[in-house]
Symmetry: C3
Subunit: 663 residues, 3 copies
């Protein structure tokens, strides 16, 4: 995609306490905006009564935007239902494991309910047909942060039973595959399958979750098909994919920050519905801003189709904890571009005066006056305008892939490593180590078959693997690749049934190692550092023992092994170690893979891109409150200042500052 | 009111394991009691079957009390329903946000249920008509610690929708005022309003809570109207008003202690039903006894109608944590009098041998034998008898008012400052500072229009204000008053909609300051001390910066400002600071207001009163385990010992001791 | 019982991912197994459709076991219901205080539901009649870890009301005994009794729990009666009695470890259904292995009928936390024998590949290969085979009894000492002190009438006592016995109604002490150590003050008293003190009782037995990671090595090692 970089915000004129459309547009233009996202979440305004559509706000916004030279992304409003829809059919409210949701919040509907589907279809058709002809409408967002919302009512369970029948064919095969005999859970027919929300069988529970995720992906596909009937060829379809949220702070006041693999929709499957990947990424700022969530989300979104993606929501002032220091809003925006984003949009333009997100603030505060955050957005806007011709369409060429799994994130909720450590914690433990080493990687899903571009594959806690994945890993190493796996990988099949042969399943030769006991490390050290949470007692069978456990009784077992297998190398980490130690092993594995490890490390982050003109660009991002000096490794131009830089020259990067060097 | 000081306890003969009425009365007389409170909570004994009244216990108690010279307060038993009432109509049990309550606990009924009202009316009429003629019945308590109990069943919601229609007139006005467009919550008619217990809109949620509080106040008014049909003119009507309870210790074993503004009934509205304010106040004792809850509750109860109030429940031995040290029971009693109480009654006479409050002990333990706590009550009783002619009818004349809000305590539950800090925590943070400085104040509600007697107004976290309140504050300062406000005040209107002009709403001139950004303080100091929980980035516009934030990026903003405006002064505190620092600023504000700050401070508390004979009395209360020496500021008589005291003389106050000096 | 010591495991062929029956049997034989436990929990395999029985797995296992010389215990499968039973009658799922359980987990059925009973009877009759004739079937386990599961549906409440009528006769007596007048809970007829799951009256709540426990005991009796119709005389009936579980680690992943008196079935009553006591005992291992749970459970199971008992489930590898160090599996097994067990069986043979207990591992890991834990089991198996003729039928002769109460464990949940301290914590505090002092005791229930064999009785937190118990204690001391009681003992009657005379009820003369006030200790010391959680302010009336409280105000009260009464002695501990101090007092009490306290203490545990040939055996168990040296107090033979030992000789006990010396 080679277009202008997108810069803008979500804008809800419907929520304004008074008419200030013109003022807002003027302020947006001053901020260098070229795009707004509108209409999603405002169904009750767009259709106040069943079938009575009122798009006057939408029209006003598109028209005004047109006058101010702004493009518009139209969001379908389907994730927040009006109350009349629930009055018409109470089953519109989702029934999940905890019972039926009450009306009030968004994203609490039953996405397979026919009444919901009928009226959703109605408003989508009306809205898209109404707006698609407008020249400044550049694309459509279908729904928002779509997930399955735990939908588990009787009608969903009927669909589930039919799906199970199709999936397993015979009830015996299902009983076996899911181990239902345990505690008398086996059944004599598919019709007899019990409510999965009561199950104590993780295989059965995860199977139902797989089905639920399928419903969510199908729902997006269904919306895309409708939009496709109306949209112009030049208009894109996108979705605002989110991540697992990690909570903090007062319960109910915010949802947390963007932490890892989303458990409640499979991004790999769902992405098929869209023509442009879109995402929202939220993270701590101030002293806790590290850029890792920005990089992680970007590396996943981009890698899913090896293309640019749009950041549909990036935080502005957000809630109390998140008010960016001077420079941080810009650093975040440039980091998105460094990951291959084709644009950055804020959530949202103005702070809302009522309801749940009153303190999840926008660029403007409740008083609509300019403020330091808005003023920094103005700087970014001008810079992006200037950089757009150069950076648009930038590509990445990573040699490392980190492999994640939607099945694993769900399975590990049933069988947590430890109460304080989730699957995504392990994923970030490894991802962050790579990130801080400035070893760029793609984040790819286990289903992805094509590993041909990679020299190194990293498997953090890849608990569930399909049979062929183990075989592909074996072949990858044999052929000269390097793999780096943590504990609790290659342990179960895709039905979360533990493999009954030697662990790691199908890879004991590849890793030159096996184990059949594991425990918690208590006062156990490895290579001088404390082991935490989990330890597998590794028995090398050909592999080199990189480090062993230091402990009176467990001392005879290996903790970290490295095997030379075929033309490649296979690393295995049997326990959780502090990040610095983990980095040591990752560096050595990278060397095995023939990948150079840069000298500069976090808090100075270096990211690389291949520009449309064939030249390379290097982003230097200072994630600290201190000025940093680096030695420039490239000869070229610093794009933000326009100055020429020489290889070997010392360069200063201000606190929370950015350099962008084009060779 | 100029009558004998009341001294006594709640007495439940119905709960006794054997007949010991005469013994109990004798022991009460020995303790100097003149009053007992009976009958509340014993409905199932008074009406064992529908319509079959049995007041034999009540009669026995009144008769015996008469013989022993004791007065009686009759409580209507309506807060603990008999099970036959629930069998008759299951909707008698309250349905709240969590569903319908099960039978068992008190205060779980639906106060608008017609069956409940019918039988409540029956028992009230029967009981009051039966007992009002008795000469030693001095008054009636209607219900007990009345609140709305979250009542939210379908019938309540019907009433709510009608009330909303009346309140807003048009649905458009309601949609706007409550910002219902957010997440598609707007409706096309009042009949379509959804169940507010599911809402994510704090404005809508708080509006419903306002309605629920109205139901509770109406319920008391309804009871008072019935009682008024029977009671003699000399008999009072009272209520046992409680406070927000702050929990501690094992869940379910106690409700906590009396912490702050009650969210679930509006005291300001509810007080209209009674002729004598009544209250219960519970607090930590032993090393944690500070007197602040006694002072806070008293300052609120007294200020509501500028009159004496009755402490209907004060703790005796209470539960395990609360066993008073020698002297503390007396110190608490005298502190109540120092705040303007016209009497002190214990909850309760004897410890109960079964059920929830078995360990919420009375003056007597389970063995009914004298014990040190009972023996101290005997001392208090004799002293009160002696002091009664002097202290009865004592008044207070405070120059400072601390302004609180029932709307704010509710709104801040939707938008908490921080998970560890509630509205009442901020209120107590400021109140306690005044208390420890011996700066006496009235605690008044935001609705109170008459500020004429005050020189200084204090606004802790007054989040919600009616439009005219800001104007009144402005005028108050202009005219020479001093105001002292904390962060998060004057932020929303009474519908919890954030004002969309500059903050603090309507008072930027008055405070000479504005702000539109705020965040959490992390390693931020102000004037040498740590800022906590919340910080507003204040931009002075005319005000003096009393202190600024010390921080690399926030250092340019003010933390505390002081403005001279008209003839007065306006202080604003943008963050939470340790109590000692807060006191420093309060002292300076008091000086601005022309109010002298005493030298003596907590743990020695000094409280003042104006006696009926026109003379002044000063209470010196030692809230510590150490003997304290003070310099007497008054010439007069120490009432407890009868000794003459001279101004400037050194006086000793024993540990947990009291002096009472009449000028 | 003088038979071969039992050694084996639970075996679930139904759960195997492939047929490996012969391999498993071979490996069992290599491990020295002589018994397997089968069939419990596999109802859906045994009866896949209503009335269609399929015992092919059971037959295969019995037949193969026979070929390999293994005995079989058949478990009735009734604790895990098939889903068809729930489809037939949804009330099969238990309704408890939280509502109706969903299908999925075991032990969630309504044990009084007629449909459940009908089909349970069917499968029991079919299974037992089918298997009883097999010569290698040695006994039957009825159900598993049976409890009442909180069953409280309407049909249960009907039974409860009838039972209450029978129990109390008149409604007045019930109202009085349970103090129902409190908060209007009294009723006019038994038919009007409200749902006890809503009650705030601990007496009423505990009465219902007593009824629920009776249902559970009756259920076992009912199963035993059915089994008795079919079983041979030489076949036993057993139950797998469990303890209160103390949780730790990630919620839902394990149930915890075996902590104390089981609240949800009365072992004293339930034991009447079986001919051989059976139990499961789980505990921490690695550095936290102490043997105290093994000893406690054994001391209770053995004492209930002064006979050997079978450990039906002992942990193998269990979950992540629990992987035994080398030697620990053997130490645990030998400790069971030292307590009088007639056998040790593991739960379970192989780790399960799906569902809730995937990480509650068996002797074999998921790969079925030999591993260090299995290999240690092989050693144990050979040793037990060798020791069997000597140790089988070993008896114990303890002079101390520790008295526990099922009523008290329930009552203390209503009235907890402190949020961090349960009844069982107090029980273990005292039990563990005795254990670590190597003072062996029986653990007996309060109902047990025969104390004739004991010289010393210990009462930790015996909150509820029947009237005659106090009298029996008095007589015991008068006659020369020694008692040692903690705080909160002898406080209520069996209806959890607090006694209204002087505390400790009926024993003020015996203890020479009384009290009527208590509180929390805050900075209070006793005899140089910190008092915790609870302190009673003891007033000696004849007793010696062993230690008083050190505190400004509580210093005048005694903390520990000792009374000489009749020919005996009575100790009373008014507060909780560190274990070492508690041991000091227990030692002195033991001396009063004429019981010698050994020099050797924990971590070296010494346990004694009386062999069938009349000689004595002494177990020396090293519960530490260090080698320990002891001085041998006996002349005889060390059974494991066969070496001769001399009195006074120094002997080494390896880390986690065992000596077994036969005199």
């Amino acid at each position: 995609m080679k277009k202008e970089l997108i810069f803008g915000a979500a804008y809800y004129e419907e929520y304004l306490p008074y008419d200030r459309l013109e003022q807002d547009m003027q302020m947006m233009v001053e901020a260098g905006f070229n795009t707004i996202r509108i209409a999603e979440s405002t169904w009750s305004v767009e259709e106040p009564r069943p079938g009575e559509y009122d798009f006057s706000h939408v029209d006003r916004m598109i028209e005004a935007a047109g006058r101010y030279g702004l493009n518009v992304i139209i969001g379908t409003p389907t994730y927040a239902v009006p109350y009349w829809l629930v009055q018409m059919d109470p089953d519109v409210m989702v029934t999940n494991a905890d019972g039926q949701a009450k009306y009030g919040s968004r994203q609490k509907m039953n996405i397979v309910n026919p009444t919901y589907r009928k009226y959703a279809e109605g408003v989508i058709r009306a809205l898209v047909s109404h707006t698609a002809p407008q020249p400044n409408v550049i694309g459509f967002q279908i729904d928002n942060e779509t997930k399955h919302y735990g939908t588990a009512g009787e009608s969903v369970q009927q669909l589930f039973r039919a799906w199970m029948k199709e999936r397993f064919g015979t009830v015996e095969r299902m009983n076996d595959a899911l181990g239902l005999a345990y505690w008398s859970n086996s059944v004599a027919s598919f019709e007899d399958l019990p409510d999965p929300t009561g199950t104590i069988n993780g295989s059965y529970g995860c199977e139902f979750a797989t089905f639920q995720r399928k419903l969510a992906a199908d729902f997006l596909k269904w919306q895309a098909d409708i939009v496709n009937e109306y949209k112009r060829e030049d208009q894109f379809i996108t979705q605002n994919f989110d991540y697992e949220w990690k909570s903090f702070g007062p319960k109910g006041q915010q949802d947390g920050y963007s932490w890892g693999v989303q458990p409640n929709i499979c991004h790999y499957e769902a992405s098929k519905a869209v023509t442009l990947m879109g995402t929202d990424i939220y993270c701590f700022d101030q002293d806790l801003l590290t850029g890792r969530e920005i990089a992680f989300g970007g590396d996943m979104m981009r890698a899913m189709r090896d293309d640019n993606y749009l950041v549909l929501e990036s935080q502005a002032q957000a809630f109390a904890e998140w008010l960016p220091y001077p420079g941080q809003l810009r650093l975040m925006a440039m980091s998105h571009l460094a990951s291959g984003a084709c644009g950055v949009m804020y959530w949202n333009w103005h702070s809302i005066h009522n309801a749940k997100e009153s303190y999840w603030k926008g660029l403007l505060s409740h008083d609509f006056a300019p403020n330091p955050t808005y003023e920094e957005a103005c700087v970014i806007g001008q810079e992006m305008k200037r950089l757009s011709p150069i950076l648009s369409g930038m590509r990445k060429e990573n040699k490392i892939a980190l492999v994640v799994s939607t099945e694993a994130v769900n399975a590990m909720k049933w069988f947590p490593l430890h109460k304080d450590v989730s699957y995504n914690d392990v994923v970030h433990w490894i991802y962050d180590a790579l990130y801080e080493l400035n070893l760029e990687c793609d984040v790819i899903f286990e289903q992805e078959k094509d590993w041909s571009q990679y020299q190194m594959l990293v498997f953090p806690n890849l608990y569930c693997v399909r049979e062929d994945t183990a075989a592909r890993v074996d072949a990858f190493v044999k052929a000269g690749g390097t793999v780096f796996s943590t504990f609790k990988s290659f342990f179960t099949d895709e039905h979360v049934k533990i493999y009954h042969d030697k662990q790691p399943h199908g890879l004991t030769q590849c890793f030159g190692m096996t184990y059949n006991q594991f425990t918690r490390p208590v006062h156990v050290t490895v290579d001088g550092v404390e082991a935490s949470y989990w330890m597998e007692l590794l028995n090398p069978e050909g592999a080199e023992t990189v480090a062993h456990y230091k402990h009176k009784y467990w001392g005879k077992y290996a903790a970290v092994t490295r095997n030379t297998y075929g033309k490649g190398h296979a690393w295995y980490l049997g326990t959780m170690l502090p990040p610095e130690k983990c980095k040591e092993y990752l560096k050595r594995a990278a060397m095995d893979a023939g990948i150079a490890v840069p000298d500069v490390q976090f808090p100075v982050i270096v990211r690389h891109g291949l520009l449309s003109d064939g030249s390379r660009v290097h982003f230097v991002l200072n994630y600290s409150s201190d000025l940093r000096e680096i030695v420039c490794e490239w000869k070229g131009t610093e794009l933000l200042t326009g100055t020429t830089v020489e290889k070997g020259a010392k360069m200063e990067v201000p606190d929370w500052g950015v350099l962008m060097i084009k060779e």
